[in-house]
Amino acid sequence: MSKQINVALIGNPNTGKTSVFNALTGLNQKVGNYPGITVEKKEGICKLPRGVKAHIIDLPGTYSLNASSLDENVVIELLLNKNDKDFPDVAVVVSDVENLKRNLLLYTQIKDLEIPTILVINMADRMDYKGISLDLNYLEERLKTKIALVSTRKKQGIDRLKSLITNYKELSINHCIDLSEIDKNYFENLKTAFPNQLLYKLWLVITQDVNFGKADRNEIDAVTNFKTKSKADLKRLQQKETIKRYQFINDVLKKGQTIDIASAKDLRMQFDRIITHKIWGYLIFFVILLTIFQAIYDWSSVPMDFIDKTFAVLSEWTKTQLPKGAFTNLLAEGVIPGLGGIIIFIPQIAFLFLFISVLEESGYMSRVVFLMDRIMRRFGLSGKSIVPLISGTACAIPAIMATRNIESWKERLITILVTPFITCSARLPVYLIIISLVIPEGRIFGLGYQALTLMFLYLIGFLAAIISAYILNRVLKIKSKTFFVVEMPNYKLPLIKNVAITVLEKTKAFVFGAGKIILAISIVLWFLASYGPGENFNDAETITKKEYANQNLSAEELHQKIASHKLEHSYIGLTGRAIEPAIRPLGYDWKIGIAIVSSFAAREVFVGTLATIYSVGSDQEETIKNRMAGEINPILGGPLFNFASGISLLLFYAFAMQCMSTLAVVKKETNSWKWPALQLIIMSGFAYIVALIAFQVLK
């Protein structure tokens, strides 16, 4: 059996830690520039020389071992607990060649925990560009370690890193600084009280202002012959420790690193001045948003039409070519239209994530975070809230989980409560189909009305989020304070591989995550729409023929009337009619009502549900869009999806809390049903009122 060792990958945010992880494990994973994007624990296996296997954990980005947020706790808890199954045999500290001084603080702390540590100096390809040269032998000697100079972009240095990991037992575990130099008496007393414990580990447990799950502080409090210091004294000692570490680092880098400013080329400052400018910055961001939404429409129309037509043909083919019966009908009228209703949106989702990924990879997204911080502060949120809010454009669930990065409970709670207002990718199919039905295709200044409407919906989602945050900030009586530090990573040309992986993973998650639910709901809906109780359903043919006996209907028209009668008296028809009085003032019929109720499982189910309902009993080869466009409002006459009902539906979906999974995550993150219940009542109530006003004004 081959030997397996535990390797912890640790580093400051934006040091390219995840790229090193990808290079070692071959596992594909998102690499972004948000501060602290690696929130969850990520693991992978790397095959090393001599048949050794490394179990690699990509730990959350942290600036030091003085944890200030939940994801930083993950790092410290693991490093302080030797009994943890993931406790590293060797730590790999990833640093960025341009920020070596700051990155080495964390390195010296880990080194003092007596864990064999390798230093990776990443982004080595930028050394010439920045005029940096390193004396690696000197650095290795002073830092008491082995160094791998790595460029993940140019695939350099990974083999050396693998070889160093394999030979980790040869690494020194000597300390970088002597703790007794900080306060001789205190540390000697500590050593006497706990002779068998590692001194720096004890110091970290005493000074952390967090709750440890595994590393127990009570052990220290229980020892009566050791008197710990007051909080203020401990903070003072911590500061002394940091100063000592930086003195050591400065001393090492004075000889180990040379920066020739004359040969450094730096356009970054000039770019930043424009991109984060208080007027130009917002204007550039606005133009980028406009371009993205226009491109989403222009580029995806051809593949979308193709997919729509293909599913219509497939449904028709299934009905005519397979043996007649319940299962064939289920496939042709339930499963295929239901799945078609989601697959049709793949091009637009893929283009959206392509743009977001390019913006993240290039380093621009961090500038957006900085820009937005100026606005967010006025609404009682910190810049850290922007990370979940931007993540919310993909899905509210990971976005709400990303709030763990926010230290202040009040800000975290407000961010959790307002994030579902942000337009997630699940809303996109609903928006796109309704926009295509009710907004004309014309253009103004080269921008399509449809693209502008889509952008408007994204903006009102964002506005709803920050206005609610402002109100919640006033209403919630929770006292807390916070600070926000954002790191601006260097501008980089996006790596095609990383962008492609992100687009593929996000699209796959969208299709398979929602696809399984849509498939299951389509099957259930088909049954509910194809069967019904009582004579009205079972004798639909006789009743309809009798009703239209005096009208000269063609066979096809009569068939449509029978199908319509059956649907109205099916189980789903009866349910829909029961809820119709509540939704009629909004301009919706019972079919839309059913789609709204079923889309509580996931918003994108709305389109699949309508596609299934409209397909039942229909013999015509029709695309989803044409079927929806052909629906007539049973009360007012005219198209069911007109401007008034369309806008009403768009606004309803913009504000309503239509997602069971999000409510479950909110419950999990707040540990209470109170917050998700309030979210559901307030958001959906507000959505209903806005949709009602919109329809009544526009009809």
Binding site: L70, P323, L330, W409, V524, K668, N671
Partner: protein, 44 residues
């Protein structure tokens, strides 16, 4: 294909679909203690 077999297949699909939806939305995993912040949420 025999209509009886078609009905069996359709009902099997329905049972599987309902089973999947129940598992997905009603049988939840246990909450993690780590799922909350460092203060005030009452889970420590």
């Amino acid at each position: 294909m025999n209509p009886f077999i078609q009905n069996i297949l359709a009902i099997t699909a329905l049972v599987l679909a309902i089973g999947f939806l129940i598992t997905k939305f009603f049988l939840k995993k246990k909450n993690s203690k780590k799922a909350c912040g460092d203060d005030d949420c009452g889970c420590h």
